[in-house]
């Protein structure tokens, strides 16, 4: 484990949380602020984590993926579209439509990844350019279809966006119920318990993102699949000489990466808000990429980095909520344009290598030529 890096990440998160608690405590009890921020952090980090995992799989296998943004956007659109079609056109019930929506999102992420794989592995196109193609294509494709399918001549929905089947439900973990007896009659204890419980009550994609982080970490460093994946990303020729099919391994990992990006896309339109807007991912794919590098190409590291980005977003939101109690000497915290720079400047700082050198897989971005 890279303790220096994780220590730095922990420090940033503590500073971000501490700032808000310090300012907000005149209005809210700290426990409420912290739990609220934690909940926001985890939710904001969810698509970033999944996007970063997508990058980890691709790049550990030696394929640079800057098309995560495009894959997420495409998946968000088609997942939502699929759910709406199932619900409104094919008349499925809401639950099934939502589930199928997730499926369509993952599928479309996979198809975009397939395009990336064909370009970068089969045709050996420069991988960064391949990713750029994906990003531009995703914007055009989703924008065009979103407009044409719902507003174009002959649209089945006749010009208005139909009702969506809703979003994935929150999974309630009954901490409050279990621990209520401990509180006894204390009302404040119960209140805190409810606040803490809220952090754990997350939706399915948010929960699976965390599970997938640990699962991926295990797979990558402790299984045959992981060993081979890392081998083709470090030294594909060496892998080839021991009978590992480099092209196949790279293809499969890019496709897995696409599925992760697809799940991240599903988060936007099927877990968070059931509507699609052009450019809705708003650059979160690029932030994912930064998180992946920040986390030194490991799943747990990428997750920790995503949490930093989540926490800085939570800081931003809370600074506005507590806008009127910000002390004058901290007034710059009111300028959300300036506070909003935190994640970007952090990323650039990390890339300088001052906090431990980030080392990409040796063959990352290099097409394999026999």
């Amino acid at each position: 484990m890279d303790w220096k890096r994780f220590g730095f990440i922990a420090l940033i998160i503590i500073v971000l949380f501490g700032t808000v608690v310090m300012i907000g405590q005149v209005k809210q009890p700290p426990i409420l602020i912290i739990t609220s921020m934690l909940a926001t952090t985890i939710a904001v980090a969810t698509p970033l984590t999944l996007g970063a995992l997508s990058g980890v799989y691709c790049e550990r296998a030696g394929v640079v993926n800057i098309g995560i943004e495009g894959m997420m956007l495409t998946a968000a659109f088609f997942g939502w579209l699929g759910a709406i079609y199932m619900f409104n056109v094919f008349g499925r019930d809401a639950g099934l439509s939502i589930a199928l929506g997730v499926f369509f999102a993952i599928l479309s992420g996979l198809l975009m990844a397939l395009l990336h794989a064909v370009l970068s592995i089969t045709f050996k196109v420069d991988q960064i350019i391949g990713g750029t193609v994906i990003n531009i294509l995703a914007v055009g494709l989703t924008g065009f279809l979103n407009r044409q399918l719902f507003f174009g001549k002959g649209s089945v929905f006749g010009g208005s966006v139909p009702g969506s089947p809703g979003v994935l439900p929150t999974i309630h973990i009954p901490l409050t119920e279990i621990f209520t007896p401990i509180c006894g009659a204390s009302a404040s204890c119960l209140q805190n318990l409810i606040a803490i419980n809220r952090v754990f009550d997350q939706k399915p994609i948010a929960i699976s993102a965390i599970l997938l982080v640990f699962f991926s970490h295990y797979v990558l460093f402790n299984t045959r699949w992981g060993l081979r994946t890392r081998a083709v990303g470090e030294h594909p020729k060496a892998a080839d000489t021991v009978g590992i099919n480099v092209v196949k391994m790279r293809y499969l990992n890019v496709l897995i990466g696409g599925m992760f990006a697809g799940l991240a896309g599903a988060y936007f339109t099927i877990e968070s808000v059931p509507s699609f807007e052009p450019l809705l991912t708003n650059g979160r794919g690029f932030i994912s990429l930064a998180a992946m590098i920040f986390g030194n190409w490991t799943p747990i590291g990428a997750w920790a980095a995503s949490l930093v980005f989540g926490a800085s977003q939570a800081l931003l939101i809370n600074m506005q909520i507590f806008r009127d109690v910000i002390p004058p000497q901290w007034s710059f915290l009111q300028e959300s344009y300036i506070v909003g720079l935190t994640p970007y400047i952090l990323t650039m700082f990390i890339l300088t290598g001052i906090i431990g050198k980030t080392t990409p897989p040796a063959a990352d971005g290099v097409p394999y030529e026999k």
């Binding site: 196109v125 350019i129 750029t132 531009i136 294509l137 055009g140 971005g365 290099v366």
Partner: protein
């Protein structure tokens, strides 16, 4: 006999490589147009009418031609910015941000300088000042990334993306704050109009195309000359093709990386400046959204060659400009243009696909445009 045969096959090789270079972009465009047409038809539109609208809207009248040139002007600068960086082995995704800060700087000089000085400047001083400040700001913005690349190894792709966000946030901050047009009728984030003395005059009365367009063509020529005829260009290309050999050859690689980024940023800043001084006469937030990404496609389609960039900038400008007419005739959404451009880029980048479709053999060597994170 032997040597004659050799030279013969050599000529044939040269001809082959030339026609290769031109054929693939051409066929890529053609293929994209066909694919786009199929999609239009698929969603119930009339592809021929749509394309006719596109062409009418971009070349159909003097006014349309003028508007195409107006669109092409920033595209040429931004495309050259990306192309120059490619030549130096750098991928500048940050033209978007460099353009924005360039526009901010030149609009500030444009409207505020006479105020600060307390008297009006003659155009011969004011206009160049406004342009130069915009260029310098763009160069500085990219230079930061170049410096980080040279001295810390921080990869320019991520850093330019981050700098884009920082640029957009910072310009938002400025345009909503100190630089906002305070006139009571204004409600949006934009600067006051720049002084007349900081404006580039139009080329023809009644048309919007301005001298900035001619400047863009001149700069394209200048960049070509710089890259191919000067020692600086030789250094940039050497660092781009083989940084190890460049170091061995006594080239200060770090300096050239920074310089390439600065030059690239200056060109991108120029794209922003030219829009402020030649067209909008002010900086309005968000006016340039997407130019930086279009510039990547333009540079790739033009194979990073300045003349290629000019031509592909024209093509993209024509498509963007013609979109209005196309919409009017067919109600096809503007996004169709983005999609067409993505297909063109796809087929240019993956020339193997085009070669496969049209059964063209490849003999050329692969040109490495970017390197992985490690490089």
């Amino acid at each position: 006999m032997q040597s004659e045969k050799q030279s013969n096959s050599l000529t044939r090789q040269v001809i082959q490589s030339i026609s290769d270079a031109s054929l693939v972009p051409f066929l890529a465009i053609l293929t994209a147009v066909v694919v786009g047409g199929v999609i239009i038809a698929f969603v119930g539109g009339d592809p021929l009418l749509a394309y006719r609208g596109l062409i009418q809207g971009s070349f159909g009248s003097t006014k349309a031609l003028s508007e195409t040139a107006v669109w092409a002007t920033p595209y040429i600068f931004a495309g050259l910015a990306v192309a120059l960086a490619f030549k130096g082995g750098l991928f500048n995704i940050g033209a978007e941000g460099q353009l924005a800060v360039g526009a901010v700087a030149s609009s500030l000089i444009g409207y505020a300088l006479p105020e600060w000085l307390g008297y009006d400047l003659p155009a011969i001083i004011h206009l160049p000042l406004a342009i130069i400040f915009g260029i310098l700001m763009g160069g500085l913005w990219a230079g930061i990334v170049g410096w980080l690349k040279a001295y810390t190894g921080g990869h320019e792709v991520i850093n330019t993306i981050m700098m884009n966000y920082i640029a957009l946030n910072t310009t938002s901050f400025l345009l909503n704050g100190v630089m906002k047009d305070r006139s009571p009728t204004n409600v949006i984030a934009r600067t006051p109009l720049i002084a007349d003395s900081a404006r580039i005059p139009p080329l023809f009365e009644g048309l919007r195309v301005h001298w900035g367009f001619i400047l863009a063509l001149l700069v394209a020529f200048l960049i070509w000359w710089l890259l191919n005829k000067t020692t600086l260009g030789f250094q940039i290309r050497t660092v781009g093709l083989n940084p190890d050999a460049a170091k061995y050859a006594g080239i200060n690689v770090k300096r050239i990386i920074i310089l390439t980024m600065v030059l690239s940023g200056m060109l991108a800043g120029m794209a922003g400046t030219i829009e402020v001084t030649g067209l909008n006469y002010r900086h309005e937030l968000g006016f340039s959204i997407g130019y930086g990404y279009d510039a990547i496609a333009i540079a790739l389609l033009g194979k990073s060659h300045p003349l290629g960039v000019v031509l592909s900038a024209f093509l993209f400008a024509a498509m963007r400009n013609g979109a209005t007419r196309m919409q009017f005739l067919t109600q096809m959404p503007v996004d169709l243009i983005s999609m067409l451009q993505a297909f063109i880029l796809l087929f240019v980048a993956a020339d193997a696909i085009v070669r496969y479709i049209y059964r063209i053999k490849s003999k050329g060597e692969r040109v490495v445009l970017t390197r992985g994170w490690g490089g």
